[in-house]
């Protein structure tokens, strides 16, 4: 399973889920043998509880705060025509984009994995890359070139092009693992081509399609930058306006609650109605018997369609950035050099990467090594962060700092780093989990019987073996922060610019020529490497078990 990691925050959480799904299947057979005792050591439990509390802090704060304002007041703020408009905009956009992504993602995955499409390897990479480009860059590319790209239609176009890989990735992985023998069995039982496709092929990947759709809708709900550029009003843009420009904090909180409720409904629905049937092959590897469907004459239209898809999703944003850079429109706007912004970005990202990775270690250890209900609940609760759009986390943190810490910490580096750490924690957790789950407890026990203390055994064995995986987790979080925009806009210290906020400032000022280089730098230094690193996790299980 390949899964580029994630530029924007919502993207990060999505690739998190993709990684997690693959992991839970591959780790399944071995995981049980790694569990020995049920009651975890106290230090681990305490550390994980602290992490879970901090992660859920913003959510709890919002809930407490709004219940303090009184249900009546909240209801009055929510019960307005504005909310209905936002709800209508948000829901219809989410539904349309999700359906389009499901269709495009599934069909492209089928073409790449199951047909004799020419240049399959190349397409497999090109189709996935748009996922690694921040949505706001794609929106910028389209909106800056074509004035008709705006409003609802513009948002549908841009979001679909930006997030269809979220369906493609899990579905393609599922096609790779599914048993192609079933299709042959269906044909031999008298089903035609089409009914085989709908009753067997699609059934094999329906869990993956479903999972992909959940990710797409979470991303659309959390998106901010692209909608702002396209002038399309959703909950996120409205919350941002109310909080940042009108200082209308109560309204922002009330709208945030509705947004969290929407994401929560999707996450909860995912847990309840996700198709349960197993879709993995039951027999031993049947890969050799995989006969790809021959496209025949359909090859040319299929190739043209894929070419168009890549041109629209990849060509336009990158082309636009290059175009504007070449045009070099010069509007003066307090020049901060790319290097300067890059250094700030790197500093925030490195701190968040280290904190999130370290914080994920006790939670992952408790869940993997001491598989109890408590440990699993704790791990699950950290995934609730997924229901919190970056905007809402940032809002809760800054409001908290202002209200209770007397402004202490507001718009400081520390608060921004904390927000990043919470935002990208699920990404770090999946990475850390994947690095630890294949390390048997037996290694540490062997070390202890050789005279090493619990702590030294852990450091000399488990942490050493997990080392490369932990480094990769760190890099994933680090790179994800580079492309984060929404929380950064709210929390970045005064007089400091990061790559994304500087891009945003130029973009808002219509200085496309100065914004473009930032867009290109973000794509080059964040998106591309994060794609490469996330592939590391594909090979992790094989590497870790090679020795035994």
């Amino acid at each position: 399973m390949s899964s580029p990691a994630a530029p924007q925050r919502s993207r990060a959480t999505s690739s998190t889920q993709i990684l997690e799904r693959g992991d839970s299947t591959s780790g399944h057979s071995t995981a049980t043998s790694h569990v020995r005792t049920t009651r975890g050591p106290t230090a681990l439990t305490v550390a994980s509880t602290a992490v879970a509390l901090i992660l859920l802090g913003p959510l709890v704060f919002l809930l407490v705060e709004s219940s303090g304002a009184g249900a009546h007041q909240i209801a009055r703020l929510i019960w307005r025509p504005l909310t209905a408009t936002l709800l209508w905009n948000t829901v219809r956009l989410t539904v349309v984009v999700t359906v389009l992504c499901a269709i495009i993602g599934t069909l492209t995955a089928w073409c790449v994995e199951r047909t004799d499409l020419p240049l399959r390897r190349m397409w497999a990479v090109l189709i996935v890359i748009p996922f690694a480009i921040p949505d706001f860059v794609i929106a910028f590319g389209w909106a800056s070139l074509f004035t008709w790209v705006h409003g609802f239609e513009g948002a549908v176009l841009v979001m679909t092009l930006a997030v269809y890989p979220l369906v493609y990735l899990p579905v393609a992985a599922s096609f790779r693992n599914a048993d192609p023998g079933l299709e042959e069995a269906a044909r031999s039982l008298g089903l035609g081509r089409l009914s085989t496709f709908f009753r067997v092929t699609l059934a094999q990947v329906r869990g993956a399609i479903f999972g992909g759709c959940v990710l797409v809708s979470l991303v659309v709900l959390a998106e901010f930058g692209a909608f702002e550029i396209l002038g399309f009003r959703t909950f996120t843009t409205e919350i941002f306006t109310e909080f940042q420009l009108s200082f209308n904090i109560a309204t922002a909180c009330a709208l945030s609650l509705v947004l969290i409720l929407l994401s929560g409904l999707i996450l909860g629905g995912d847990w309840i109605i996700r198709p349960k049937g197993r879709t993995a092959r039951t027999g031993p590897l049947a890969q050799q018997s995989l006969r790809r469907h021959e496209l025949g004459a359909a090859r040319w239209p299929v190739l043209l369609t894929l070419l168009a898809l890549v041109a629209l999703s990849l060509g336009v944003p990158i082309g636009a950035s290059i175009y504007w850079m070449a045009r070099g429109t010069k509007f003066a706007l307090g020049g901060v050099s790319i290097l300067n912004a890059g250094l700030h970005t790197a500093f925030f990202g490195a701190c968040a990467g280290a904190i999130a990775t370290v914080a994920a270690i006790p939670v992952a250890l408790l869940a993997i090594r001491h598989d109890s209900l408590k440990a699993r609940l704790m791990e699950r609760s950290t995934y609730l962060v997924l229901a919190m759009p970056g905007l809402v986390i940032a809002l809760a943190l800054s409001y908290f700092a202002e209200r209770y810490a007397g402004g202490f910490g507001y718009q400081t580096s520390a608060l921004l780093i904390l927000a990043y750490s919470i935002l990208f924690f699920p990404l770090a957790l999946v990475g850390v989990r994947a690095s630890i789950i294949h390390i048997p407890v037996g290694f540490e026990e062997a070390a202890r019987s050789l005279g090493q203390s619990r702590r030294r055994a852990f450091l000399r064995v488990t942490m050493r073996i997990a080392g490369p995986g932990l480094a990769a987790s760190f890099c994933l979080v680090f790179l994800a922060t580079i492309t984060e925009l929404t929380a950064t806009l709210l929390l970045v210290p005064i007089n400091v610019q990061t790559l994304s906020t500087q891009f945003w400032a130029y973009q808002q000022n219509l200085s496309y020529g100065q914004a473009a280089p930032f867009a290109l730098v973000i794509v080059l230094i964040a998106a591309v490497p994060s794609y490469v690193i996330s592939r590391y996790f594909d090979r992790l299980p094989a590497r870790a078990t090679a020795g035994q």
Binding site: R36, T37, P440, G442, F443, E445, A446, A447, R448, S449, L450, G451, Q452, S453, R454, A457, R460, V461, R464, I465, A544, A546, G547, Q548
Partner: protein
């Protein structure tokens, strides 16, 4: 390297996982410098017992003493790293990020990692040429030897082996077994080996403890375990067993196979008994023999060094089936008729 082997006393140890009692009132004593095998079917609690001795798990009840020190008791618990008890697991658990040499020296202080002792130890396990390899570049048998050397390098008072040969293929297994046996004898460490393979237990150990349903049911020398099993279950577990009914009277058992002399000890009261006849106590011959029983050969299995026969006869209007093991010599085929004789005294238990 001068290990000081210690003895082990396990007294009344109990352990449950949830409602599932895995060990109940387990007693075991192992003399310093000896080699004991714990033999039991899989799931009988062998690993759990070893892990308690190693200190990875804590007993719910009872005490574990090594060399007189209480390591695990109602009020004491010594951490595994301070027990000086070596542990070799089923798959060796070699650290995958370290070379053979680094694995072996893992438990040593930094200053001792380059000493002659280490070189000697790596030579002793015949892996001098492989010192710089990583575990995944070794065969299963080599990995097990490294795991043993790693455990021995820190000079333990005691070493525990949890089915160390189970994951090896049959041809490698016997070689590695005798290597390990020799290394342990040379070093003189007290060793406890856990296995579900009765051949392995009987051939390697000075003492065999049979564990069944959470209890140690018998511990004795391999010879006694085989000849004098404590009950029919143990008799069947440690080898092929023919069990027949009989009547004990004045030191002889009257059975369908004739009147058989009975082992002297332990004494069993006269009356109805169950009689154990090992297949190699039976002999077949074509010549008519007055003392023997006429049997028909049903099935034969040729094993090279010996042959197994399933034979049948009827007595008292009942069909009886027996297993006979013959050293190479006279051969029989299915359908042959032969005479059956019993050699040596037999083991008897009061009939249930």
């Amino acid at each position: 390297m001068t290990p000081s082997p210690a003895n082990l006393e396990v007294t009344d140890v109990g352990k449950s996982f949830g409602d599932n009692p895995v060990l109940v009132g387990v007693n075991l004593s192992v003399a310093a410098g000896s080699f004991t095998a714990i033999l039991g079917p899989s799931g009988s609690g062998k690993t759990t017992l070893l892990r308690i001795i190693a200190g990875f798990d804590r007993a719910d009840k009872g005490t574990v003493r090594i060399g007189g020190d209480v390591l695990d008791g109602p009020n004491e618990f010594v951490a595994p790293e301070r027990r000086r008890v070596g542990y070799v697991s089923q798959n060796g658990s070699l650290f995958p990020h370290l070379t053979v040499e680094e694995n072996v020296t893992f438990g040593l202080a930094r200053s001792l990692r380059r000493g002659d002792d280490v070189t000697a130890l790596i030579e002793a396990i015949d892996l001098g040429a492989l010192a710089r390899r990583f575990p995944h570049q070794l065969s299963g048998g080599q990995q097990q030897r490294v795991a043993l050397a790693r455990a021995l390098a820190v000079n333990p008072r005691f070493i525990l082996l949890d089915e160390p040969f189970a994951s090896l293929d049959a041809s490698a297994r016997s070689d590695v077994r005798s290597d390990v046996r020799q290394i342990l004898k040379r070093v003189g460490t007290t060793a406890v080996l856990v296995t579900h393979d009765q051949d392995e237990a009987l051939s390697m150990a000075d003492q065999v403890a049979v564990i069944r349903d959470a209890h140690i049911v018998q511990s004795a020398t391999p010879h006694d375990i085989y000849q004098q099993p404590i009950d029919t279950g143990v008799a069947q577990f440690v080898g092929d067993a023919n069990l027949i009914g009989g009547h004990l009277k004045a030191g002889v058992a009257v059975t369908v196979l004739g009147t058989l002399p009975v082992m002297k000890s332990p004494t069993v009261a006269d009356g109805r008994v169950t009689v154990l006849v090992r297949p190699e106590q039976l002999a077949l011959s074509r010549t008519d023999d007055v003392a023997g029983v006429r049997v028909e050969i049903l099935e034969t299995a040729f094993h090279g060094h010996d042959s197994l026969y399933r034979v049948a006869f009827s007595a008292n209007s009942e069909e009886h089936l027996l297993t006979v093991r013959l050293q190479s010599g006279e051969q029989f085929t299915a359908g042959d008729l032969a005479h059956l004789r019993v050699n040596g005294p037999v083991k008897v238990w009061p009939a249930p």
